[in-house]
């Protein structure tokens, strides 16, 4: 099961900069490894991560095979208003996995 661990404060002061920590379970198969028969193991990585804040993109990452397995990514965003933060990871297979969190901004 592809799991995601997301660490976002539940509340913040308006204008405060908050840290978002993310960890996704994913092998990030580089495509450069060989199996015991000598065949190349096909590439299978998360190649894009997007964070939207009430629908507006506030952070985006293009990822390459050099990102370690079980990708760990932390970044910051300004707490502008209460609402929903949506985090999406997209793999080489085109599938997107999403986590959402609500934040209360006073």
């Amino acid at each position: 099961m592809t799991r995601a661990l997301v660490n976002i404060p539940k509340q913040a002061k308006r204008g405060e900069t908050i840290e978002i920590k993310t960890l996704l379970s994913h092998p990030m198969e580089t495509g450069y490894r060989r199996d015991t028969m000598g065949r190349a193991v096909p590439r299978d990585i998360i190649n894009r991560f997007v964070c939207t804040y009430n629908g507006v993109e506030v952070f985006r990452a293009d990822l390459f095979p050099a990102i370690a397995a079980n990708p760990f990514l932390t970044f910051y965003t300004v707490a502008t208003e209460s609402g929903e933060l949506k985090l999406s990871w997209t793999g080489d297979d085109g599938e997107t996995r999403t986590e959402t969190a609500t934040i209360t901004v006073a």
Partner: protein, 269 residues
Amino acid sequence: MSLFGAPRVRTRGIMALAVVATAAGATAPIMSAEIPPGERRSGYEFMSPETRAMQDDDSANPGTFWVLDGETLWSQKAGEANRACADCHGDARDSMKGVAARYPAFYAARSRPIDLEQRINICRTEKQKAPALAAESKELLALTAFVGRQSRGMPITISGDRLIEFLEAGRSLFHRRQGQLNLSCSQCHDDNWGKVLAGNTIPQAHPTGYPIYRLEWQGLGSLQRRLRNCMIGMRAEPYEFGAPEQVALELYLMWRARGLKMETPGVRP
């Protein structure tokens, strides 16, 4: 008096082992010195601050994924008996507290010690009437990680008269020279811990965090996998998963680490 004295363990049997070991030490100078109790350190203390931070923060520790999977499996009905672990054991936070810290444990029905993986599979096959989980399978690792997590912070405790002969077997294996390099575990981990070998500091080899997320594996693995890894590195024939030598070594290593706190799921280079 005893080289191996520990406050919690006072059985006659363990003192007997101490006498045997002291005598062995006197008559067999090839036996390396045990690490004095006051100098024992978990592998955690030999890691960089960054790797330690990765272990300490559940939301940065990939081992957490296996713990969460184990939590899900705990409540899943399985086998012909259609039972979940939770049906017999209730909330693991209560029932499994301290369990991993005292494994391997003596299992009377087999007259030998078994490790946690074997214990889980006994439940699987006998109580749930489900097939055993394969060694290093995602499910078995998830369950051992979940059960192990319930012992985090608790001191390792191995005790019991009936374990003596197996402890001695484990200790001899630990001290036995083997493989193309003719090295024993003890030569690195008793005699040369703290020194640097190929860019990594040699730890004392205490199994405080198992199953661990090993950066080298890019995944979670058991103590038996790690022991096989060591033996391959030493150019020795590794023991098969579940072999009696593996369990004897696990038992000895846990006993050697007694008193140190469990860290499951640990992160190690």
